[in-house]
């Protein structure tokens, strides 16, 4: 697999506060990378800088070997899925997916067709003429995903897309998202503060705290070889506790 995205010496300060301190990482073509960390650790800032919604204080971003950090967001060929869906409430589901396509000369002609195909993929064809507020949270997030997929981005960035959903919906959507990734082969970067989610979905996980990367590795390697005390204490302990309580629960159930 080739390098899709290379981030070099990324720094960001807000006033005197250093939010990102020298961030370096690489994402491979077709990879699913999670960024895991508590709120305020700088993970959303990374995502917004990658997209171009925020400007870095220093550092470079290369996509397919090209420096992109001077480009406007739309020119980066990336998609962004927001935590609170941010749908166009006045438009129908179909209208939401179609809108950006219609604004592009080269896609205008096929806008309807592409939009319908995307809604079919996320399983919302039957709701296409409804307004977003008539849908459940999970369905609304699917609309947002379809809206992003429609422009066929190279990389999709997810900013805690499931944090407002209930556990059941989250489980289904997780599986669906993995399916989509397989189908399109799109590179995905996924932000979460939920260890379970990160471990269940990712090819690799990037563990962050206070603007520093503590470890980037596969879920298995992180569990087997935690890089430092932070990873050990806050990530692994947590995951192990969850597993233990599940085992206990299964055991007591047997008795």
């Amino acid at each position: 697999m080739s390098d899709k995205l290379v981030v070099k010496n990324l720094k960001k300060t807000f006033g005197k506060r250093e939010v990102l301190k020298d961030i370096n990482f690489t994402v491979k073509e077709g990879e699913f990378l999670s960024i895991l960390g508590p709120s305020g650790c700088g993970k959303t800032t990374i995502l917004r800088i990658l997209m171009g919604l925020e400007t870095q204080t220093a550092g470079e971003i290369h996509k397919d070997g090209e420096e992109i950090s001077k480009l406007v967001p739309a020119a980066r060929k990336m998609g962004f899925v927001f935590q609170n869906y941010a749908l166009f409430e006045n438009m129908t589901v179909l209208g939401n997916v179609e809108y950006a396509l219609k604004k592009r000369k080269e896609l205008k002609k096929d806008a309807r067709e592409i939009a319908e195909k995307m809604l079919d993929i996320v399983g919302l064809s039957e709701h296409k003429n409804r307004k977003p507020h008539k849908l459940s949270g999970g369905q609304q997030q699917r609309v947002a995903i379809a809206r992003t997929l429609a422009l066929n981005p190279d990389i999709i960035l997810f900013d805690e897309p499931m944090s407002a959903l209930d556990v059941d919906t989250r489980m289904t959507l997780r599986a669906e998202l993995k399916e989509l990734q397989k189908k399109f082969g799109t590179t995905m970067i996924y932000i979460t503060h939920d260890q379970e989610e990160a471990f269940a979905m990712s090819d690799r996980i990037m563990v962050m705290n206070e603007g520093i990367i503590h470890q980037i590795d596969t879920p298995k390697n992180i569990i087997d070889n935690p890089a430092d005390e932070y990873v050990e204490r806050f990530v692994i302990k947590n995951i192990k506790m969850k597993i233990d309580s599940l085992i206990q629960f299964v055991d007591t159930d047997k008795e």
């Binding site: 919604l53 406007v72 967001p73 927001f82 869906y85 749908l87 604004k103 809206r147 422009l151």
Partner: protein, 527 residues
């Protein structure tokens, strides 16, 4: 490329907005302030005439505020907390007095209770309405709808859970009132008191009509400026009138920012209680009757031969008024109101877009400026405009009246738009960025369609208020640009009470039509 162009457009608009605000509010007010440098302020303030007017203004406004808020509180409780029917109809009846100039309330009272008043004659009473009691009654009628709507809004959003908890704990009604109701209502209630007080103390329509020898500050200011062209004295009184309005504005800002919490509240469930409901019917019916009575009376007088000598029905006052150029003045008013509505709505959208959707230092300044116009009474704004624009080309044109009305009525609609824009998802513009859609398109295709109801509400607010205002425009209108509401003072001065009544009826009709259109448009949209 894309980025650079967008930034320049936005900064051009910012510069234009900044210049507009400087010329429309800041410089005129400074002009008025600087005018006071040539005046012996101490002499004016210590004069007996001023002291009396100040004392009387404070006295009658305080009493009227207490009565108005008291009755409004009772009415809003009846509508929000009892099981009576026809709540919508009652609300409409309570709001109708908002659609006519304050001076018309004074007129209605004179026709009923003046020296030749219908009630006095019919029942052989000998009530003297001129002076304190007249101003009190008129001010209550004029301010009641506004106080009622504010209080209804507060009661509607009060949370019922603390009351349920109190019930579980077995607290008495009195305990509940002091431990739950009062603490919850304290802050908004202070706001309502000051807003009502400001409205009453800065009004000159009611006291001008019915005040008799009971002089108040706005009337004194009006007479000094219009009658004696004493701008210096007018400025001093204007500054005094700014004080309560500024306090009201500050209180409002303080309360608003904290009150914006998005708690989940539980609405009140009205329990069955026949005695309470009968009481509520009586209160609502009585107040509605008393509010509508003067309006109905002047409507009747608009169609009599000669009040009070010959009360037979006639249409000849219409002819008489038309001979006095009624149609010209009416079309003046409609044109002014329409243009103010359009300009005001566009300005409010533009300003709110910068303050609610593009947060920056500039937007905070703009927001403060936009709310301060709430604190400037019409008379004061009008006077400052006379002084500032007197020698400019815009003076004496329709543009002058349009500008002064737009600024005078700007704050409330602006705040409606600000709140609506603020509630829309903060990421919409970012979504646009990631999908390659320009900000302008997001505004046009998403934000504005989602704010349709607010836009219609703003339009109606600007229109109705421009139709009936007599404060700011009274200093600025010329023979050619005079709005129809000012004919009321003119006719009244000429002892043509029937024609003055007719003008009030016409204003009421136009405003009712506009409100009706707004109501049905909103209902159609909701479907």
């Amino acid at each position: 490329m894309l980025k650079d162009r967008k930034i320049t457009i936005s900064s051009y608009v910012k510069i234009v907005l900044a210049i507009f605000w400087i010329f429309a509010i800041i410089l005129p007010l400074f002009k008025m302030l600087s005018n006071m440098a040539d005046v012996d302020v101490a002499k004016i303030v210590t004069s007996e005439r001023f002291a009396t007017a100040l004392k009387q203004s404070l006295t009658v406004s305080t009493v009227a505020t207490l009565v108005s808020v008291g009755i409004a509180g009772l009415l809003s409780w009846c509508v929000a907390r009892t099981g009576i029917r026809f709540k919508g109809i009652f609300s409409v009846l309570f709001s109708i007095p908002m659609l006519i100039p304050s001076i018309s309330h004074g007129m209605g009272l004179i026709i009923l209770l003046g020296s030749n008043g219908i009630l006095n004659k019919t029942f052989g009473w000998n009530i003297n309405i001129y002076g304190f009691s007249g101003i009190l009654l008129g001010s209550v009628m004029y301010s009641l709808p506004v106080a009622y709507l504010m209080l209804l809004d507060i009661l509607k959003f009060e949370d019922s859970t603390p009351y349920e908890a109190a019930e579980v704990l077995g607290l008495s009604k009195i305990d509940k009132f002091f431990t739950i109701t009062l603490p919850y209502l304290r802050k908004p209630l202070i706001s309502v008191f000051f807003a009502t007080f400001t409205m009453i103390i800065t009004d000159y329509g009611v006291p001008l009509m019915i005040g008799g020898k009971y002089n108040t500050l706005p009337v004194m200011m009006y007479q000094d400026v219009i009658g004696m062209l004493d701008f210096g004295k007018g400025s001093v009184i204007g500054m005094v009138l700014l004080v309560p309005a500024l306090i009201a504005c500050l209180l409002d800002i303080m309360n608003r920012d904290k009150g914006n919490s998005a708690f989940v509240t539980k609405a009140f469930k009205v329990k069955k209680n026949i005695f309470r409901d009968v009481f509520a019917y009586i209160v609502c019916g009585l107040v509605a009757f008393l509010l509508i009575l003067p309006i109905a009376t002047f409507t009747r007088v608009a169609f009599v031969e000669k009040y009070p000598i010959n009360m037979s029905f006639t249409f000849k006052n219409i002819e008489k008024a038309i001979n006095m150029n009624l149609t010209d003045y009416l079309s003046n008013s409609v044109i002014i109101a329409l243009v103010v509505s359009i300009v005001g709505v566009v300005l409010a959208i533009l300003t709110a877009y910068y303050t609610a959707r593009m947060k920056s230092k500039f937007s905070r300044v703009l927001h403060m400026l936009s709310i301060t116009s709430l604190a400037i009474p019409g008379l004061v704004l009008g006077l400052s405009y006379v002084m500032f624009f007197k020698k400019s080309f815009i003076y004496g044109t329709f543009a002058m009246l349009i500008l002064v009305n737009t600024m005078h009525f700007f704050s409330s609609p602006y705040l409606m738009m600000y709140n609506t824009f603020g509630k829309l998802n903060a990421n919409l513009e970012y979504v646009g960025k990631t999908l390659g859609i320009r900000r302008l398109f997001i505004l046009k295709d998403v934000l504005l369609p989602m704010s349709k109801e607010t836009i219609i509400e703003m339009f109606s607010y600007f229109f109705v208020n421009s139709m009936m205002t007599i404060s700011a425009v009274s200093f600025l209108a010329t023979m050619d640009t005079k709005p129809v509401a000012l004919m009321i003072t003119q006719f009244e001065g000429q002892m043509q009470l029937e024609c003055a009544a007719l003008v009030s009826v016409i204003i009421l009709m136009v405003n009712l039509v506009v409100k009706g259109i707004v109501f049905f448009t909103k209902r159609r949209m909701a479907r």
